[in-house]
């Protein structure tokens, strides 16, 4: 077996049993292929041995216990349905207050439009309007009492 055949078998991932003996023979004389076998085959197929099993320190269980039992209590999470309901209620309240305020404002504008004494906006026009009204009243009084 040469190095090329050796690497080709390893790259395929599955080593046929009949090739294994030949490969071991080749590895005894070729350190390069042996390293290739260790890195590409052994470390993948037997990773548990390579990665090792690092044991924890002796006191870890007690440390974890202390950490867990002394941890501050978690702030109670607000359920999503409560959040959604609150948001919806806030929107409805906002719309309600807004519509009431808008109604009041429109009412006030209407009242101003129909008021005879709209002195605040245009005093001159109002004075003229009052004079006209007085004249009309005067004329109607004259008309009504014409015969007397």
């Amino acid at each position: 077996m040469n190095c090329q055949d050796f690497c080709h078998i390893i790259d395929n991932g599955i080593i046929p049993d009949e090739q294994l003996r030949l490969m071991h023979e080749h590895m005894e004389s070729c350190t390069s292929c042996r390293n290739y076998y260790l890195l590409v085959h052994e470390s993948v197929e037997n990773a548990q041995d390579i990665l090792g099993n690092e044991l924890p320190e002796a006191g870890l269980a007690a440390d974890i216990g202390q950490f867990v039992f002394n941890a501050p209590p978690l702030a109670k999470a607000i359920p999503m349905w409560v959040k959604l309901t609150s948001a919806a209620a806030a929107i409805v309240c906002g719309l309600l207050i807004g519509s009431v305020a808008y109604d009041a404002r429109m009412q006030s504008v209407q009242n101003q439009e129909y008021s005879y004494l709209n002195t605040a906006t245009d005093a001159k026009t109002d004075t003229l309007y009052m004079a006209e009204t007085t004249e009309i009243m005067y004329r109607s009084f004259i008309d009504e009492n014409e015969g007397e």
Partner: protein, 196 residues
């Protein structure tokens, strides 16, 4: 393990659970993070999360599997949070190779690779794998875990686990093979031509 007592929040029962399982949780976290301090932090967080959510645990499930699932999630979160730190192990983070790891200066293809070197290279190659392939591969190599258990921990199907492990091995072979050819064999060829 008395699940009913655990669900009631009994501290003594929970300490028994920690005593019985902390070693497995710690070792799994070390495999994911390659760092004992990080693994210790993860183990603490795993049990804190378990203690707070034990009421949600289904009694028909395996509590060890449940703890492993939390461990995997916590480990992956830590790796994401500290991405820069973990990527520094495999320097060339953008490429699909493990080029960044330099071969030991003293090393030549004529000297057998040591376990420590194999572990460093395997960890660097594992960092290059997609998250789900790495998780499946590491779980598969943790205490001979079965495909069923891995499927339950990763919340996936049995066939998906088989596929993930198969692909992870193929990718690792490719990454490690390419690395070896470039860093160990090539210098050897140069060395022999220099002599001539």
């Amino acid at each position: 393990m008395n699940i009913a007592l655990l669900k009631k929040g009994d501290q003594r029962a929970f300490q028994e659970l920690i005593d019985a399982t902390h070693s497995d949780v710690f070792r799994l976290a070390v495999k994911f993070t390659s760092n004992r301090d990080d693994a210790k932090d993860i183990a603490q967080e795993v049990y804190l999360e378990a203690f707070r959510n034990i009421r949600d645990f289904r009694e028909d499930a395996n509590i060890r599997t449940w703890l492993y699932r939390i461990t995997v999630n916590r480990s992956l979160n830590l790796i994401k949070r500290n991405k820069a730190k973990f990527q520094s192990l495999s320097i060339d983070s953008d490429s699909e190779s493990i080029e960044g790891i330099s071969a030991p200066v003293h090393h030549g293809a004529d000297k057998p690779l040591e376990n420590k070197e194999l572990r460093t290279l395997l960890n660097a190659a594992l960092d290059k794998l997609p998250e789900n392939q790495r998780s499946a591969f590491l779980l598969f190599n943790h205490d001979g875990m079965s495909y069923n258990e891995i499927a339950e921990i990763l919340n996936t199907s049995l066939s998906a686990v088989e596929s993930l492990i198969f692909r992870s091995k193929a990718n690792l072979r490719k990454l490690l093979g390419d690395y070896y050819e470039k860093n160990y064999r090539a210098p050897q060829v140069l060395k022999s031509t220099d002599v001539k």
